[in-house]
Symmetry: D2
Subunit: 419 residues, 4 copies
C-alpha cells in the first residue's frame, strides 16, 4: 500500500490520511474497504455527507444512467431538465408534506457557500451588517462563515478580525443556570447595551463540530420568538444536522419552528457529490438576478442524485426504518454510557446524530486508534476534542450497526481497564 505520493506531493494540511493511514478504494452502504481488502464500518460518513451510505443503489443508478447519456453536466443557473426534476422532487417530497413554501437558491455547492449566501441575503434584507452567532458554533471555512464560527481563532482567520459578529452564549452555556435566550432578548432591547441589532441570528440545532451540543426545543422556540420580536432574521445552518441526520429531514422539525432561512449541503446530493441549497422565506427573496453566483451552482449530476434521495422521504418504509435505527443507536449508546462511566461523561445529540462526551481528549484519541485497528472509523469533535462523534449512515443495516458498536465497546473497554 503506497502512500508516498501523498507524503511527497500533498500539502501538510492533510489530516484524515494521517489518522487513518491506509488507502481506500471500494465503499458500499456503511462499509468501506482499503486496498488490501480490509473492511471498515463507517461512523464518520464524510462528516455527515453520506447519510444514505456509500453508493446507495437507489441514488447511484440514475446517476450512472445520466452520466452515460451525454446529458448536460454543468449549467450555471441555466434551466435544465435535471434541475427541474430536482426542484419538483424537493418540493413534492420534502417541502409540501411539511407545509413549507421556501424559495430555493442554488449557491456554490458547498456548505460554506450556502451560509455566505444566507448571511449576505439577511444583511441585504435588513440593511444591517452585524450577525449574532453562538459560542462553539461552526459554519465553514470561507471568511464570512469562519467569522461566525466560535472555534476559529483570530490566528486561524489569518489575522483578519471577526468583523460584524456578536458572540452570544448557546443554549445552556456555560451552564444550565444561565438563561442565554433571556440575555439575548435583554441586550437587543436595551439602547445602551452596546450590542447593535444584528441582521440575523445564525445557529445549528446541534453543534456537531462544537462538541455535539444539543439545543432544546424550548430554547429554539424562544430564539425564534426573540428574532420575530426584534425583526432579526433566523438562519438555521442545517448543513450537518439536516438532510435526515437527526431522523427527521430537517433537524428543527422537533422544535416546531420555521426559520426564515435554512442552509442545506453535505448529504443533500445523497451521493457525496458537492451540492447545496439555501431555502428562503418567499417574501425575503429579494435578490436581484445574478446578484449572487457561483460556477458550480448547476451541478446536474448532483441534481439527479439529490432528486432520488428526496423521493425516498415519501416512502414510509424508509422513514420507519430510519426511526427504528435511531432508537436502536440511542439504546446502544445508553448502554455504553452506563457501562463506561470512567471514560464517558455524557451522551449528546439526537436521533442518529450522536456523541459521547468523554473524560479527556486522551481517551478519545486512544479509542479512535483502537477502533481503526479493529475496523471502525470514528472522529472526534469539541473545543477540547473530547467528544466521540457517532454518525452512522441513517440507512445502516442492523448488522453493520451492531458490529460498529461492538468495536466501539471493545475500544472503550480497553481504556476502562487501562485507566
Amino acid at each position: 500500500m503506497n502512500t508516498d505520493t501523498f507524503t511527497a506531493h500533498e500539502s501538510n494540511v492533510r489530516r484524515y490520511g494521517r489518522s487513518f493511514p491506509t488507502v481506500f478504494t471500494k465503499a458500499l452502504g456503511a462499509t468501506i474497504w482499503d486496498e488490501t481488502g480490509k473492511p471498515f464500518i463507517d461512523f464518520l460518513v464524510g462528516s455527515g455527507a453520506l447519510n444514505y451510505g456509500h453508493n446507495n443503489p437507489t441514488i447511484i443508478a440514475p446517476a450512472i444512467e445520466y452520466l452515460s447519456g451525454e446529458n448536460i453536466l454543468l449549467s450555471l443557473d441555466m434551466y435544465t431538465a435535471a434541475k427541474r426534476d430536482f426542484i419538483e422532487a424537493f418540493v413534492d417530497s420534502i417541502l409540501k408534506p411539511r407545509g413549507l413554501t421556501y424559495k430555493i437558491q442554488f449557491p456554490g455547492p458547498t456548505g460554506t457557500n450556502a451560509n455566505e449566501a444566507a448571511l449576505a441575503l439577511a444583511r441585504k434584507y435588513t440593511g444591517r451588517s452585524s450577525v449574532m452567532a453562538f459560542t462553539n458554533a461552526f459554519h465553514g471555512m470561507s471568511l464570512g462563515s469562519l467569522a461566525v464560527s466560535g472555534s476559529a481563532s483570530t490566528k486561524e482567520l489569518g489575522g483578519v478580525a471577526r468583523h460584524d459578529v456578536i458572540r452570544v452564549p448557546y443554549d445552556a452555556y456555560p451552564n444550565q443556570a444561565f438563561d442565554s435566550a433571556s440575555y439575548i432578548d435583554c441586550v437587543l432591547g436595551d439602547p445602551g447595551s452596546g450590542v447593535e441589532k444584528p441582521a440575523a441570528i445564525i445557529l445549528e440545532t446541534i453543534q456537531a463540530e462544537g462538541g455535539m451540543n444539543t439545543a432544546s426545543a424550548a430554547w429554539l422556540a424562544e430564539i425564534q420568538r426573540i428574532c420575530r420580536k426584534h425583526g432579526v432574521v433566523l438562519i438555521v445552518d442545517d448543513i450537518q444536522a439536516g438532510a435526515g441526520r437527526t431522523g427527521d429531514f430537517f433537524s428543527f422539525e422537533f422544535a416546531k419552528i420555521e426559520p426564515d432561512i435554512v442552509c442545506l449541503s453535505k448529504s443533500l446530493s445523497g451521493s457525496g457529490n458537492p451540492f447545496s441549497i439555501v431555502l428562503i422565506r418567499p417574501d425575503m427573496d429579494i435578490w436581484n438576478p445574478g446578484e449572487h453566483s457561483g460556477t458550480f451552482r448547476g451541478n446536474n449530476l448532483a441534481f439527479v442524485t439529490a432528486g432520488a434521495m428526496c423521493k425516498m422521504w415519501s416512502d414510509r418504509q424508509f422513514t420507519g426504518g430510519v426511526e427504528r435505527t435511531a432508537a436502536k443507536l440511542q439504546r446502544h449508546l445508553d448502554h455504553l454510557v452506563a457501562k463506561f462511566p470512567k471514560c464517558i461523561e455524557q451522551k449528546r445529540g439526537r436521533g442518529l446524530m450522536a456523541g459521547l462526551k468523554c473524560r479527556s481528549q486522551a481517551v478519545v484519541g486512544r479509542v479512535h486508534d483502537v477502533a481503526f485497528e479493529n475496523g471502525l472509523l470514528i472522529e472526534s469533535s469539541g473545543p477540547n476534542r473530547d467528544v466521540i462523534k457517532v454518525l452512522p449512515p441513517i440507512t445502516i443495516s442492523d448488522d453493520e450497526l451492531d458490529h460498529g458498536i461492538a468495536i466501539l465497546n471493545q475500544a472503550l473497554q480497553e481504556q476502562d481497564n487501562g485507566d
Copy 2:
C-alpha cells in the same frame, strides 16, 4: 417547454435562465441542445468551466466506469486510490514538464474556496493581514474573496466593509500613461505612504469578469519582482484563465513567472464536476494538519476526470490542436474588429480567452439576444457589461468554431446596420 417550476420555486437570483429562456438537456463538445432539440454553439462553457467541451469522451468514459464500480466517492482527505492517481497525473503531466514543484492542497471544490485558502495561508505565512488586490478584479462570492474583488460594492458585500484590502490599479489602469507597477513599488517602500505591507498580492493574468483586461508579460514579471523585493506572497488566481484556457495549461507561462501560490478550479475536473486545488511553493506549505478543511475536498469522481484531463496535456497532438484553434479564433476576431468598428472598440484577451470590447452595453445586449436566437450562447463582462466574452471549448472543432463565429458575425452585422 415548461419553465414554470423555476418561476414558482427558484429564487429570484437566477440569471442565465432568464437570458437563455429555454430548458437544456443534452450536450456534447461545443454543442448543447434544448428540450425541443434545438442545438446551440456554446461560447460560454460554464463561464470557463468546460474548456474541454461537454461530455468529452476521453474524460467521461473513466468516470462512468468509476461510478459504476462501487468505488468510494466522497472521502474528505482520506487517502484513496483515485486521489493518488490524480496527484500522479497532475505531477507527471503538468508540474514536472514545466519544472514546477508545488505542493497540492485540496480545499473545498470551488474557486472561491481555493482563493480563501490561499489568502489564509499567505496571511499565516507572513503574519500580516492585508492583501493587495486590483481594480476590476474578481475572485469569488464568499466574503474573503469578495472583499478582494473590485466589482463588488459594499452593498453587495452586505454592508460588511472590505477589511484588510488595499486596492491598486491593474496593468494599464486607468490608462497606459500610468505605471501601476512602479506606483505599487513606491508605496510599499515608503514608510509614510499609509499603505501597509500586505501579506499577498492576488491577481488574475486576464480579468475575465472585469472586462477581459489583459496583463502584459512585462507587468507580470515586474509584479513578481516587487513581491520578492518586499517579501510579499504572489498569488495567481488562475481559476478562469488556467487549466488550458489561454492555450497553455497555466495562464502565466507566457510571462515566465512562477507565482508562490496558484489557485485552480472551474475546468480542472474537465467534466464540470466541482473541484479545486491550491498549488503552494513547498517552503510556504506551513499548514498544520487539518487547519483548513472542507467536506467536499475529497470528490473522487472529480479526481478521476481531472486525471484524464491532465494526461491529455502529455499528448502533443492535443496541445498542437489547441494552439491552432487559438490562432484561428484570434484571426476570426481580428476580422470582426476590422469589419465592425461602429460596434467594436477593441479585441481583448489571449489565446482562447478572448473578448470584444464594444461601444456600449446596448450593443452587447442586442448581440447576445440575436446570437441566442440564432443558436449561439455568449455572455458579457466588464463593469459596464460592454465586453463580449468569447470562450469556446479549447477542443472545439473547426466547423463548430466557424459556425459560432458566423452567428456572431451576423449579430454584429445587424447592429452595425442598425446604428
Copy 3:
C-alpha cells in the same frame, strides 16, 4: 440677554444652551450667575470636571500668578518647571500615600485622548487587538473610545463598525441573577467560545453616563483576578469617577484593587482647564519615545492648577470635609427616595457621585426644568435618560448643598403631586 449669536452661528449640535436658556458669566464655588445676575446652584459641575468648585481660590491664585509672569504656557513634552512641580505634587500627595508607583503619561488633554492612549498601549503590550468593554459603558467621542462605549449606536459611529470590541455584561446586568464575572472567566478559558483573548478589559467603577450603575467591590476584585489569570490588562477609566468624585481620590480605592492602567481627566486640573494623564504600571510602560503624542500634552497652566489640587489631598481637614459632605449628601438622597416613591425608583452611586433612578424620562425632564427655573442645574443620564445625576462640587458648603437639595425636593414634590 442675547442668545441670537448662538442661534445664528453655532452648530445645531449645541445642547446645554438649549436646556439652560440663559447666558452665564460669573462662577464661584457651587454657584454660577447668569447675565441678569440670577444665581444657580451647580449640581452638574461640567459633567464632573469641576469637583473643586468654580474658581477655587486655592487653585486659581497660583494660575493667575503664573499667567501674569511670562511663564511658558505650551511646551509639548519638553521639560518645564511647572510640569516638574506637578509631577512632584502628584507623586507626593496622591501616589505615594496610596503605595502606588505608576509612571505618568501626558497624552492630549481630554479624557478620550487618555483612553485612546491606554487602549493603544494595552494592544501594544499584549500584541492583541480586541478589547472587552461593558454594556452601558461610556469612554469618549473619538473613534477608539466610542467603539468601546455601549451607548453609541453604529449610526453615531458614522457607520463605522465597532471593530475589535467584545461587549460583555456589567456587574448585575441584566439583573443580579446573572454572574457576569463568571461568564467572562468562562469564555476567556474556552477555546471554542468564539471570544478571543482581549488586550484589555476597560471599565468605569460607576457608569455615570450609562445611568450611574455602580460596581460592587467584590465584582471589581473578581474582574481584576480574571484579568491577571488570563493575562489581560485592566484599565480603569476614572475620568468622571476619579479625582475625588467618590470621596476618595481614585474611585477604585474602596475595592482595594490596583488597575494596570488608570485614566484621569475632567477634574484633574482642578480649574476646568483641559488636562489628562494616563497612569501606567511601570513594567508596562513600553512606549517608544514619541510613539504617542499630542500638541496640548504640555498645558502648563493646567500643571499649575492640578498641582495645587493635588496638594489639597495632603490636608486632613480637606479630606475630612469631603467625607462629611458625602455623608450628608447621601442622607439627603435617602430622604428624597423615601419621600417620593412615585417618582424615584432607586438611589445609585457612591460618595458624591450620586444618582436618582426615576420612574420615567418624563419625570426627570420636568424635574430638570422646574429646578432650573428655581435656580438649580442638574442633568440626566442612562440609556433612557431616567436617572438624575447629582454631582455637587465635593467642596460645596453646607448651605449651598442644603439649598440645592431643597430646590430638588420641591421639583420632585411638584411631580409627585402631579402624577
Copy 4:
C-alpha cells in the same frame, strides 16, 4: 538643573525632553529661556500651536483679566458671555471678510477631536462609511484620525486595522509624472474599480508631519471639483497650516477653494490653551443636539484669547507685517538652499510654513543638535525624518528671525564642511 523627576516618574513616551535636555521656564515672543537663563529662538512653536508667539501681550492681557475676575471657566456648551464674544470676533474678523458663512461646532479642544467630529459628520451626512485620505497625511492620534494618517503603521494603531480608509496619492506623489487627481476622478467613476464612493476626502494643504509636502492651487481646485462631481464631502484639516501659519488665516485661501468642512486647532486660542473648532457648510450642519460632545468644549479662557487673536486679523498693520515676515523668511531659505546644496535638496512649504528637505536624516539630526547647542529650537518631519521644519512665530521680530536663521546657517555650515 534637575530632570530626575521626569526620568523617575514620566512615561518613556516623552520625546522633546530627550532632544532638548533642559528645563524651560520663561517665554516671550519667539524666545524661551531655560532655568539657567539661557535663551533659545523658537522655530518649533509648539508644533505650530504658538503662531502668535509666547505670551503675546495682546492675547494674554485679557486672559489675565478674565482669570482674575471669578468668571466662568468651564461651561460645556452652555451659553456664556465669553463664548458669545469669541463667536462674534470670529465671524466679524475672520469669516465675514472672506465671504464665508460656516456654522461653528465646538468639539473637544484638540485637533484630533475636531477631525473625529468632521469625519463623523461627513459619514452621517452621506450615509457612507469610507473616507479617502492621502499618502503621508497626519490627522491625529485618536483612532479615527490615526486611521486616516499615512504615517501610522498598523503596529502603531495597536493592531487595529485601518478600517474604512481609502489611501490615495497626494499631489505629485510619487512624482510629478503621476496625475493623482485624475486617478481619483477615475476610480470614483468606475463601478469596477473596487474603490467605494467615500463619505469624504480629508486633506492638509501642506503635509507638515508628512514632510512639508505642499499641494498646488491647481490640484486643490481639482480635488474640490472632483468632490462636488461625485458628491463627496471635502474636509480640510487646517489644524497646523491654518490660523495664520501660511500668511493667510486659512491655508486654502490662495487656491480659492471653499471646503465643506474645515478643522482648526493648535494656534486657534493664540495662547497655547487647548481649543478647536469645526467649521461646517450651513446645509451640512445636520447634527442633532448633543449628538457629539466633549467635556472641554467650553474652555472660556481659550474663548477669551482666541477672540483677541481673531481681532488682530482686522488690523492691516498686523497682516502687512506677517506678509513681510513671510517674504523675508522665504528669502533666507532660498539663500540657504543655494548655499548648502550638499545638505539641502529642496525648499518646501509656503509663507511661514517652511521646510528644508535635506539629503539625509543624519544631516538633520546633526543640524538639530548643533542648533540647540547654539540657542535655536527646530524639529524634523517626514517619513524619513529628513526635513527640517522652519516654523517661527508669524509675529517674530526681524532681529529674532535673523538670529535664528544665523544659527541655522552655522549648523548647516558645519555639516557642509564635515561631509
